[in-house]
């Protein structure tokens, strides 16, 4: 049981790490481009709204955000330990809870769009 759980958590971590490594640079770059004042055509309200309305767009957004959240949660748990916090159980509950809340929020908003 313990091994099965570990494999599951590790699997989400690795999948999320791969997704973030591939997708987050371009995601951050889009934020930067917007911040610099050039809002590209695809990020105008109608276009981005249409993208998030399409089921393929919804699926892509859900997979990227949820896996990234679980990746970050697992790594943050280890980071707490590395910075000398020795309350693994409480830390694990807290970080996984935040990842769960984020996942539910993502599903909820995508459903609403």
């Amino acid at each position: 049981m313990a091994i099965a759980k570990k494999a599951f958590v590790w699997g989400l971590f690795a999948a999320g790490g791969t997704v973030t490594a591939f997708v987050f640079p371009v995601l951050i770059a889009l934020f930067l481009i917007v911040a610099l004042g050039n809002v590209p055509e695809g990020l105008q309200f109608e276009n981005i709204h249409a993208f998030a309305t399409n089921w393929l767009g919804k699926a892509a957004l859900f997979i990227v955000i949820s896996l990234s959240l679980w990746h970050a949660a697992h790594r943050l748990r280890v980071v707490f330990h590395d910075f000398g916090v020795r309350m693994d159980k409480a830390v694990a509950n807290a970080v996984y809870l935040v990842a769960l809340i984020g996942t539910v929020m993502t599903a909820f908003y995508l459903y609403q769009i």
Binding site: A14, G16, G17, T18, T20, A21, F22, V23, F24, P25, V26, L27, I28, A29, L30, F31, L32, I33, V34, A35, L36, G37, V39, P40, E41, G42, L43, F45, E46, N47, I48, H49, F51, A52, L61, V64, I65, S68, L69, H71, A72, A73, R75, L76, V78, V79, D82, F83, G84, R86, V98, G102, M105, T106, Y109, L110, Q112, I113
Partner: protein, 132 residues
Amino acid sequence: MSRQPYIRPVSKTTWYMRNGRYRKYMLREVTCLLVGVYSFLTIWVLATLASGSPESWNALLASQQTPAMIGFHAFALIYFLIYQSFDWFKLAPKAMPVQLGEKKLPDRYIIIAHYVAWAVVSLFVFWLAGVI
């Protein structure tokens, strides 16, 4: 008869400062904070889209257009590329070695394949967003 064992004092909070490899490890691990920040920023984007109002969407875009946010996004982009993406691609052949009969596929092919896939994904997203 037993002697007092010598326990080398190691700080629980600053142990990684002793060694360059440990420091690099910690610089990589804290990228999870950026992943968290951008995941929730994207959730905020979804919440704004769900509200269905173009005015709140434009307000969200405007909220990013400050010198502080430009600096933050630029820093995050460079930091993330160096310590998460490029590090992840470098470690990929160790995490997923490809066996070809008796031999292993050389590491550099796996790494190059990751960079190519990354370029394709990035160009595709830029194309979707209308940047290119």
